[in-house]
Amino acid sequence: MSPILAVFRREFRSHLNTVPAYLFAAFFLSVSAAWLFLARGFFVRGEASLRSYFEVLPALLAVLLPALTMRSWAEERRTGTYELLATLPVRPGELVAAKHLAVLGVVGSVLVLSLSVPLSVLRFGAFDVGVLVTEYIGTLALASACAALGQWVSARSRTPAGAYLGTSALLLALSAIHRLPAVLGLSGIAARGLVWLSPASHFESFVRGVLDSRDLAYFAILTAGFLYLAAKALVREAWR
């Protein structure tokens, strides 16, 4: 068994034995459903689209996902268990990758549970299944980037609470950054740059049912970049 798979299994099981994973699932499923049916009046509007369901996910993930990533490294540091991991023949990058996959495993499981929402309304209209699949791909890509950022913050934080607050603040800021040009009256390359930087603007394409390789590349780069930074932060600390 590869070290990545061994650590992934341990981490995934560990998530299933702790409260944050269940809080994440409960709030994610209930808030997103309440948003669709109550706040956005799905049945009143009479549209065969779940766009409004997915539109709320960047903000929801910004608040909820840090609960899954906050313990990744800050907890290992708090309890002193990182030194044990550091003595194993496993590269920091492999440890980071395994923990990332475990978080994605939890998110993926919750997304499977969330299928109950589209499945319950499919009979009320002619929904485009292709769009729905694209929306789910986009959600997983967005969650992957958010989780990677969360790992980086956790790798640099002293406590899980600090990691949660730091990750959440950064994700909320990133999610709102595409609105800055309108607020500040910016235009031209600066405005386009800020819009491009925001995960929300890339996620929007998926919500519209457009599977654009540039958006996929954006989330892949963000994920790889933050995982790399997390591994670097661990190396810097371990070899101090």
Binding site: M1, L84, P92, W239
Partner: protein
């Protein structure tokens, strides 16, 4: 001539805003020996041990472990050594048995081999009663036994033990050393340990080094060390502890910087 398993040349390490923790350390340890590294607090013992375990970087110098050039994070070296450091904590939420199995999987064992190895170590380190308990609920001495058992899961050629018996009662210490000595004798595992219990070094080490001021100040056997230093303060043959205290007194009182640059045991003493 025996093969050298630890080879250290001109090793230096300075912490930011601090003095030199290591100031040109040279050291050879032969394969299969039980080696004790002694020294007062702040002498560089932990820094040297961490660098040898690939957990810290050196500023200058070279290290070879098991014949492999070693650097911080070297996976090739880590797969051949076992490490049980004093400050390390095991996962408080996982049971003793699960941690031993997980460690086996991380070293590439299949599920069955990892399970068998875990049960073997549970028996050898008398962890049977604790096997189903979470590490967070264990006493300090039991945690230390678990640390050492974890370090032995993959059958390392070289075992680093940092203050291994701290917190163990005499009975458990005897059991612990019995297993370590058996491993050294039957499997040829090289044992590198640090300790503040000098009677342990005297009884179990075949070879020792004393680090002082970031340099190897003595290198030889425990009996030679005792004979050299204990005689000055005792009418009888003395023991390692009295010799060690006399040695420290000598270093504090009379050693000049020039004296410190040459190992007290002479050049022949640098190599065991």
């Amino acid at each position: 001539m025996k093969e050298t398993i630890i080879e250290v040349r001109s090793l230096e390490r300075t912490y930011r805003k601090g003095p030199k923790a290591l100031d040109g350390v040279d050291l050879d340890v032969e394969r299969g020996v039980r080696f004790a590294l002694l020294g007062p607090n702040g002498a560089g013992k932990s820094t040297l041990t961490r660098i040898l375990c690939t957990l810290s970087k050196a500023d200058a110098g070279a290290v070879r472990i098991c014949g492999i050039p070693s650097s911080a994070g070297s996976v090739a070296v880590r797969s051949r050594i076992g490490v049980a450091l004093q400050a390390v904590q095991t996962d408080p939420g996982a049971t003793v048995r699960d941690q031993l199995r997980f460690q086996g999987r991380l070293f590439g064992m299949d599920a069955r081999a990892a399970r068998e190895r875990a049960e073997d170590l549970i028996e050898r380190f008398d962890l049977g009663e604790a096997a189903g308990r979470k590490a967070g609920d264990l006493s300090g001495g039991t945690k230390r036994r678990l640390h050492v058992a974890l370090a032995l899961v993959h059958g390392p050629e070289l075992l680093f033990l940092d203050e291994p018996t701290a917190g163990m009662d005499p009975e458990v210490r005897a059991l612990f050393w019995g297993e370590i000595l058996r491993r050294n004798r039957e499997e040829g595992t090289t044992i590198f340990f640090t300790t503040q219990y000098l009677e342990e070094a005297e009884r179990h080490a075949e070879s020792l080094a004393v680090i002082h001021g970031g340099r190897i100040a003595y290198r030889g056997t425990p009996s030679d060390f005792t004979a050299r230093y204990a005689g000055a303060v005792s009418d009888g043959p003395g023991d390692l502890e009295s010799g060690y205290l006399a040695f420290l007194e000598t270093r504090r009182g009379t050693a000049s910087p020039e004296d410190r640059s040459v190992p007290a045991g002479g050049k022949e003493a640098v190599r065991a």
